[in-house]
């Protein structure tokens, strides 16, 4: 490679681009609740508790999604039960939840508590549907971009050759066209999954009392004591995204190879 300063600049740029992600596991395996350099200790001893909590949180999110009913205070994971560490008294009146949670959190009007307590006539199930609709809208352009790539790389003559005897494009679809663009379809499925998994704003505005993982994390950012858990959960989320991405990229490249075209870049 020529042009040394430019190379150095590009490498430095790449390093800064990755700085947050590189620091994430470093902090997740750190045993202090205060995140700062120098790291207090580099033991693996703290990995298990946060990882366990993370599992609980993830499970909670799924639980909340699938139950399709309002959470009772006893069902909430620990941070929701108030700073005093014990569960909130079961009020029995759904409308009170918001007040209890807001009063229990260290910061008065904590957003996630409000979200989980906002008594909404439409239940979580309906909320979930609105998030799905929003994420679908968000994913359509990305999906189109990726699929467009695999369609434009497809050799048109193959489809034409198949077309000749029957003159029916609909019949060609499963036999010829679909296998050719299948890697593109898989890649766009994975990308859409990743986008929806990480999306925050739409879920934040629409989730109500069935938070998705990023919305749950947002609520936890307020609690300094929960930092190791946030970091562990964040690591899991990031690792999952990167794994999905690498698989998607592999599929995309396989599609390109199958179409016999030279690779010309990433997803966007």
């Amino acid at each position: 490679m020529k042009a040394r300063p430019l190379t150095l600049f590009a490498l430095l740029y790449l390093f800064v681009l990755y700085a947050p992600i590189l620091l994430l596991p470093l902090f997740a395996f750190n045993d202090g609740t205060v995140i700062a350099f120098p790291l207090q200790g580099f033991t693996l001893g703290m990995v298990r508790p946060p990882a366990g909590d993370a599992g609980a949180a993830f499970g909670h999110a799924q639980f909340a999604d699938h139950r399709g009913e309002r959470l009772a205070p006893g069902d909430l994971p620990r941070p929701f039960r108030g700073a005093r560490g014990n569960a909130l008294p079961v009020s029995g009146q759904g409308g009170d939840h918001g007040f209890h949670h807001a009063a229990a959190g260290p910061a008065g009007g904590d957003r996630c508590d409000l979200a989980s307590g906002r008594a909404d006539a439409a239940g979580p199930r309906k909320r979930l549907w609105s998030i799905i609709l929003g994420h679908t809208l968000l994913c359509i352009p990305f999906s189109i971009a990726i699929l467009q790539g695999s369609f434009s790389n497809m050799d048109q003559s193959l489809e034409e050759a198949a077309d000749r005897p029957r003159r029916d494009a609909v019949l060609d679809l499963p036999a010829v066209t679909l296998p050719l663009v299948a890697p593109g379809i898989v890649a766009s499925l994975l990308i859409c999954f990743t986008i929806s998994l990480d999306e925050f704003i739409i879920a934040f505005f629409l989730s109500g009392n069935a938070p998705t993982l990023p919305v749950y994390l947002w609520g936890q950012l307020r609690f300094p004591a929960r930092l190791p858990m946030i970091m562990a959960l964040g690591t899991i989320l990031v690792v999952l995204s990167i794994l999905l991405l690498i698989v998607a990229e592999t599929f995309r490249r396989r599609g390109l190879r199958r179409a016999g075209v030279k690779d010309s870049g990433g997803f966007l």
Partner: protein
């Protein structure tokens, strides 16, 4: 009926039927909320009850309250700085990938650059708060190296932190369009310029840069539009000095229970962003045109004169005309100028 079937069987008709489900879906899910927001902005809310009488009181209040104006101007300023930082830093990287990386390695570089973008936005922003913190890695390293004695305090919970974080988050959006337009440049043009005696720097300035301008412009648009309305970053790293218009919209809708006001601010923000961008693009075309015909000084003078005029209008206007009239008048005049420029001034060499 017959005509309809024939129309559907034609090449264009087939395409239209195929594309219509997602198109209808996208239109419905974009148009319906947009229409609701515009409708809401003409209503008022009294605690929980929405008063459906048509009024423009929200707009009058939004345009005259100095708090909203300050937040909107700050959002525009932050967005402009983020765009400048992102595009200036992204250009050398895109240039490097396009001109100095081996062709078979290019896709790997692009993949590496896009990976951070696909990871959770929330986590990345939060990690910037950790990195820039009082006792975070940046301060720790600088103190450890003996460059500074006390931790830097101007890098967290203010506008700088928002700019740094957003510039990081939007980096791939700037690199990719610039890279695409650099890739499209015919390399033989550069050779021709060198053969005809241009220096390396002049070749870059007079051939590469103008040809890459469409990509740069796309990068500017892609970065500046979403950054004006960012919510998460100012909330997490901005502190009170870095609050932006989106935070105010959120506060109006959820915390203050004033949905119509939030809707009004959203509509105004959309309009102002659109008009500001149109202003920027049209003036760029005008200044480049002036620089080509009358020289660099004429362009510089025109630019400074207009910016000074806008500042004066903004300072003196509220006292004479009242705040809403000042803002609306300024927007109207600037947009009139933009339209005139788009009609009268031809596209320059840079394709703007």
């Amino acid at each position: 009926m017959n005509a309809l079937t024939r129309a559907l069987r034609s090449e264009g008709g087939k395409g239209l039927t195929m594309v219509s489900p997602p198109l209808v879906y996208a239109l419905l899910l974009l148009a319906a909320p947009l229409a609701t927001i515009i409708l809401f902005s003409f209503w008022t809310q009294n605690f929980l009850e929405i008063d459906r009488t048509f009024t423009i009181a929200n707009y009058a209040e939004a345009l005259s309250d100095p708090l909203y104006r300050e937040l909107m101007l700050r959002s525009l300023r932050i967005s402009a700085s983020v765009t400048a930082v992102t595009v200036i830093l992204a250009f050398p990287v895109a240039y490097f990938i396009s001109f100095h990386v081996r062709p078979d390695r290019k896709s790997l570089w692009l993949f590496l650059i896009t990976i951070p973008f696909w990871t959770s936005y929330l986590i990345r922003v939060f990690l910037w708060r950790v990195i820039l913190a009082f006792d975070g890695p940046v301060n720790g390293t600088l103190i450890g190296l003996g460059i500074i004695d006390e931790p830097l305090t101007f890098i967290l919970y203010n506008v700088n932190a928002v700019v740094i974080t957003l510039a990081h988050a939007f980096a791939p959006f700037a690199i990719l369009p610039i890279f695409v337009s650099l890739e499209k440049i015919d390399r033989s043009l550069l050779e021709a310029a060198r053969d005809l005696g241009e220096s390396k720097a002049m070749t870059f300035l007079r051939v590469t840069l103008p040809l890459a301008m469409p990509g740069v412009l796309a990068a500017v648009l892609i970065v500046s539009i979403p950054t004006v309305g960012d919510y998460v970053t100012p909330r997490l790293v901005g502190g009170s000095g870095g609050t932006m218009i989106a935070n105010m919209i959120y506060a109006q809708i959820f915390d203050l229970n004033d949905r119509p006001m939030g809707a009004t601010l959203a509509v105004l923000a959309m309009a102002i962003v659109a008009l500001t961008l149109i202003w920027g693009i049209s003036r760029l075309r005008f200044w480049l045109w002036l620089a080509e015909g009358w020289g660099l000084w004429a362009a510089l003078a025109a630019a400074l004169a207009e910016i000074a005029a806008i500042r004066a209008f903004f300072l003196l206007g509220p006292a004479i005309l009242g705040a809403p009239a000042t803002v609306l008048g300024l927007l109207a005049l600037a947009t009139l100028g933009s339209v005139l420029i788009f009609v009268m001034v031809p596209k320059g060499r840079a394709g703007i």
